[in-house]
């Protein structure tokens, strides 16, 4: 018993060092990325300062979709192995993915307002991201409406798999739908034409945000694992407590109300 706890502690201490290194790397990369985004990268000739939101917006969009990939991996793993840790991974991915999808939609709208003169346009990428946001919501709902945790994990895993396969198809269908219509706004973000300074800034921001994602994902997995253990302990404690005596006053009150109805 003593041995088990000490090894657990040692392991926790070891991974905490790893987490500290990861946190430091994340902060460093993001700081450099911010500096590059605001100082190093040249101002866009057409869009002016507003274009700088690009360095935050695009990495976040990548994370919004990456997170659904994490859900997919967790979902397949859970249905296959039935190990709760896979579900914890899927839960962690879902929560982060929802946050980043929301942020992508907000930063995109903020960027769109001065440049396109509108908060929203039914472009393929925007539409797919909005639908992705709704799928994340459905994912949370099915988990919370399922009743018990095990069934919630199973149902959510099924939706996770269906959703991950569906998102590329949704993107394809929306793209076809758009190209068959006149396009109101032409997106001008083709990566090949970016000047080198902008490209490097974007790459550093990508790295920084991805590190942040990994850090938060590990942290979130741990929180979910602690939460599960806590729920187990509570259940054990509940089962261990002796069943209380029926309260006489309540029993009598029920008798009286039952009698009066007759």
């Amino acid at each position: 018993m003593m041995n088990a706890t000490s090894t657990t502690r040692q392991r926790a201490a070891g991974s905490d060092t790893g987490m500290r290194v990861l946190a430091a790397a994340t902060v460093l990369t993001l700081t450099i990325g911010l500096f590059m985004a605001f100082v190093y990268a040249p101002m866009d000739a057409v869009q002016g300062q507003a274009q700088r939101i690009f360095y935050v917006h695009v990495p976040m969009a990548w994370l919004a979709y990456l997170a659904f990939g994490v859900i997919f991996v967790g979902s397949v793993g859970y249905l296959w192995k039935r190990d709760i840790r896979w579900d914890q991974l899927a839960r962690a991915g879902a929560e982060l993915g929802f946050v980043f999808t929301t942020l992508v939609l907000i930063t995109g709208s903020l960027w769109g307002r001065p440049i396109w003169n509108t908060f929203w346009t039914w472009d393929a990428r925007l539409t797919t991201t909005l639908i992705l946001w709704f799928i994340y919501l459905a994912y949370f709902m099915i988990r919370s409406y399922a009743g018990d945790a095990e069934r919630g994990a199973r149902f959510a895993a099924i939706l996770g798999i269906i959703g991950a396969v569906d998102v590329p198809i949704i993107h394809l269908s929306v793209q076809w739908w758009r190209t068959l219509h006149p396009q109101p706004v032409v997106l001008n973000t083709s990566g090949t034409q970016l000047p080198n300074e902008m490209l490097w800034t974007l790459l550093v921001c990508f790295a920084g945000f991805t590190l942040l994602f990994i850090y938060l994902l590990i942290l979130k997995c741990r929180i979910e694992s602690v939460r599960d253990r806590l729920a187990d302990r509570e259940m054990e404690a509940l089962l261990a407590t002796p069943v209380a005596e029926p309260r006489r006053d309540l029993v009598r009150a029920a008798d009286v109300s039952g009698g009066s109805e007759e």
């Binding site: 459905a138 409406y145 009743g147 199973r154 939706l159 396969v165 569906d166 949704i170």
Partner: protein, 219 residues
């Protein structure tokens, strides 16, 4: 295959005796088609696009009404428990339920398409429209049957069903509406890519649902 046929037969007999779904879905589809006339202009210029949109909204809603309850009813009556005790795998139960749901939606479409064609003076009785109707119905019935089982095992079933089905069935909605519009406009050749997309969608999601259905049913 024999088992799937038995399961479908069971659903048809239940429907013939109780008449629970088909009548309600049919009337609902008709009233939706009529009501949408007040929401959009389905008679003037560009009615090919708004007409096919209205038609598919009606089918999606009517389909959801029937699909949403199809497995919840089984659960409430204890039939689902009986089925899981039978020597059939989850995949067969899924296929049986999918086929009977699909048959209901197809009957609704067969009855409403002539009415729709007459009301809005659109060429809705072409073979291609029936083909799109079939492939589209299979698309949302496939996902709908799976989600119906998920919703049946949850609280707030009626709310959950559209929240699951609508976002994930978007390729079906877009595909069916675009393809039907193109047929109404007389562009049969341009409708084919959409038809192929819908076929691929059906194949992918029927296959996935078939595989994962065992995980839905276990208690």
């Amino acid at each position: 295959m024999q088992r799937v046929r038995m399961l479908v037969w069971k659903d048809l007999v239940v429907e013939a005796r109780g008449r629970e779904f088909l009548g309600a879905m049919l009337v609902f589809a008709l009233i939706t088609i009529v009501t949408l006339n007040f929401a959009f202009d389905l008679t003037g210029a560009g009615k090919e696009a708004s007409g096919s949109g209205g038609l598919w909204i009606a089918y999606l809603f009517a389909g959801m009404l029937g699909l949403g309850r199809s497995i919840a009813v089984e659960r409430d009556r204890g039939t689902l428990e009986g089925l899981t005790l039978c020597p059939v795998d989850g995949g067969s139960i899924f296929l049986g339920k999918l086929i009977s749901n699909l048959l209901f939606v197809l009957v609704v479409q067969l009855v409403t398409l002539p009415v729709f064609a007459a009301l809005y003076d659109l060429p809705a009785l072409r073979p291609m429209v029936f083909a799109i109707a079939f492939i589209g119905a299979l698309g949302f019935s496939g996902l709908g049957t799976l989600f119906s089982a998920l919703a049946a095992g949850s609280r707030s079933r009626e709310i959950l069903m559209p929240l699951l089905l609508f976002p994930l069935a978007i390729p079906v909605v877009i595909g069916c509406v675009r393809a039907t519009t193109l047929v109404f406009e007389g562009n049969l050749s341009e409708a084919w890519p959409w038809f192929n997309l819908l076929t691929a969608f059906d194949a992918i999601f029927v296959a996935i649902s078939y595989v994962v259905f065992d995980h839905v049913l276990e208690e």
